[in-house]
């Protein structure tokens, strides 16, 4: 599904290299977790994959089902099935959450040559999905993320994911800021979407989320590289001992 090869990325404005040769392959149906110290480049990787400005890809490639992602506009990547749940969801004053969701769903459908969703159908679907995530009607009416609590913002990301039904979902620290119950809701939301045609890349600092969303593969990222890849036990090891041993082992 997602294939990242030797990805090198530097900042456009400065001579700062952030990703120094990332290799990563995620197959359909799999859940991969990425852990790693602060500042190791996890968010940068997710931004570069989704097409944010400000980065220069100096080498390497990233494909989604064989299509080169890095040459597409952000909206084309989304229509191709890529989704990023932001570490810091963005507030957009004046744009209603519902309007935003419907515009996004229909824009993607249009881009794929599918029929747009009627207002009535959309409302039904969004209400049902919001309910399972405990997002109330008021939050749907309010401007996107404005005045939402940290946890509400994260649940709103998952609602967007549930509505857009992407095939490659990247979750950047969706668990941080969530209380125990909300974490369960989010995990349930993710698990409900798990199927053979979809894959997840879950960036997290904590084993806790991975108790709910069982990963097939765990990667450790440090200083712009994947330095170790293993099974779920790798996350447990990090939880217990931190990164020191792993970093020492690699060096």
């Amino acid at each position: 599904m997602l294939e990242i090869k030797n990805l090198h990325v530097k900042l456009e404005e400065e001579d700062k290299v952030i990703l120094k040769g990332v290799d990563l392959t995620v197959k359909a149906g799999e859940v991969h977790a990425i852990m790693g110290p602060n500042g190791s480049g996890k968010s940068t990787l997710s931004y570069v994959l989704s097409g944010r400005d400000g980065y220069d890809v100096t080498d390497g490639s990233a494909t989604l089902d064989g299509e080169e992602l890095l040459e597409m506009e952000p909206e084309e990547r989304a229509a191709a099935g890529l989704f990023l749940a932001f570490q810091y969801p963005v507030e957009i004053p004046g744009v209603g959450n519902m309007t935003f969701l419907r515009t996004a769903v229909n824009a993607q459908r249009k881009a794929r040559g599918e029929e747009e969703m009627s207002a009535g159908d959309f409302l039904k679907v969004v209400r049902a999905k919001a309910k399972t995530l405990k997002i109330d009607a008021d939050m749907l009416k309010r401007p996107v993320n404005v005045g939402f609590s940290g946890g509400e913002k994260k649940r709103n990301e998952i609602l967007q994911m549930a509505m857009l039904e992407p095939k490659m979902c990247i979750l950047d620290e969706t668990d941080s800021g969530l209380d125990v119950d909300a974490m369960k809701l989010v995990a349930d939301g993710v698990n409900a979407l798990r199927d053979a045609g979809r894959a997840f890349l879950v960036i997290t600092h904590y084993q806790r989320l991975l108790d709910h969303i069982k990963p097939d593969v765990v990667h450790i990222m440090a200083a712009g590289r994947i330095i170790k890849t293993g099974g779920p036990e790798l996350a447990l090891e990090v939880e217990k001992n931190g990164y020191a041993d792993i970093l020492a082992e690699v060096n």
Binding site: S50, G51, R52, D53, E73, P74, E75, R77, A78, A79, F83, L84, F86, P89, V90, E91, I92, P93, G94, V95, T99, F100, T103, A104, V105, A107, Q108, A111, P143, Q160, L164
Partner: protein, 428 residues
Amino acid sequence: MALPQAKQGVLAARIAGLSLPQGGWASAARADALARLSAMGMPVKRDEYWRYTDPTSLTTPDAPRAAVFDASDEAPAFDGIDAVKLVFVDGVFDPAQSDDPAMAGVEIDRLAAVADRDIHWAQGLYGVLETHGQTPVQRPLAALNTAFATDGVLIRATGKAAKPVSLIYIHRDETSDAILHHCIKLEAGAEVTVLENGPAAARFTKVMEVDVAEGARFHHIRTQGRDHERRAATHIFACLGAGALFKSFTLTANGVMTRNDAVIELLGDDARAHIAGAAVGDGDFHHDDTVFITHAGLRCESRQVFKKVLKNGAVGVFQGKILVKPGAQKTDGYQISQSLLLDEASQFLAKPELEIYADDVKCSHGSTSGAIDETALFYLRSRGVPERMAQSLMVLAFLAESIAEIEDEAIAEDIRSRLEGWLARHER
């Protein structure tokens, strides 16, 4: 101080081809206006009050040529609103396209039609608020209008009007130079909505005097037409009695030159005046909102909400003043002027002013000028919303606060969907 030769020269040239209507109830007001005008001369670029807007094209003897824009790709603004329609083509009343103005609670006359009467209720208003509005700042174009206006509507509301009065201004002649003067008087407790739509002429010089008596409610919503080359200098002069409400909203898209002046005086206690504008300019676009609000009564509230979206070198100007007179305690004055600059070539010039002579007042003003929020734009795009559409969403969001000043939801929706349509056409 001797009047600078330049101002007199421009005035002489401007009025050389105009004739002062004689006779009838308005003739004294017209003669007075001409005297005022002669003392002031025409505005010139050096005038402080025209610092950001060059008045030249508004004061030339002839209207600069303006191509007629074909706006048939959409229904005219307010088309779906049931209203008494009065149509002016290049400033000339068109009875064939107009409705019979008879309506319960409202008396409507046309200035030109009643000009030779000896008495008319509008005598107490025509030129009166305009004269009052000449201090502390001179407004020669308004005096010119009072002197030479060829037509206009005279609306007197004694109760709640059954429908809005819709003034439709059609521009057909590339060199038309229209001068219209409206007088609107709301008696105590009356309520009326006045809609204005259209470019009116190649050049439009307009004055609207509005007297809102105790407890009366006046709503004004206008769209200034999409003609790219048209020019307009408009003035609203309003005074409010105790507990009166005045609300005015203007949507402007296109137009090479627009100067909209508003002079509002809150005279009675507990009066409220809200004035708002949304302007969307692309390229050769200069739009100036100049507002002067005076608080004289107790506990009055005023709101100014002006938003401008500018691109490809468009220029937006805002000069807004709140004057709180001695004794006008518990004044609540709010003023915000913001621009969204879609590129570096565009410009927003703002001069917010507060002048306060009472101690127990709450006044706030803010002016910002910014680019589109790139992070938000990326967020929208990452959800599959194409760039132009994402930009439109953000533009509408930016303008929302000013559109929210329209009380009537159907009219607000007309404005919103119109904007959406314009932006969507740009998306392609």
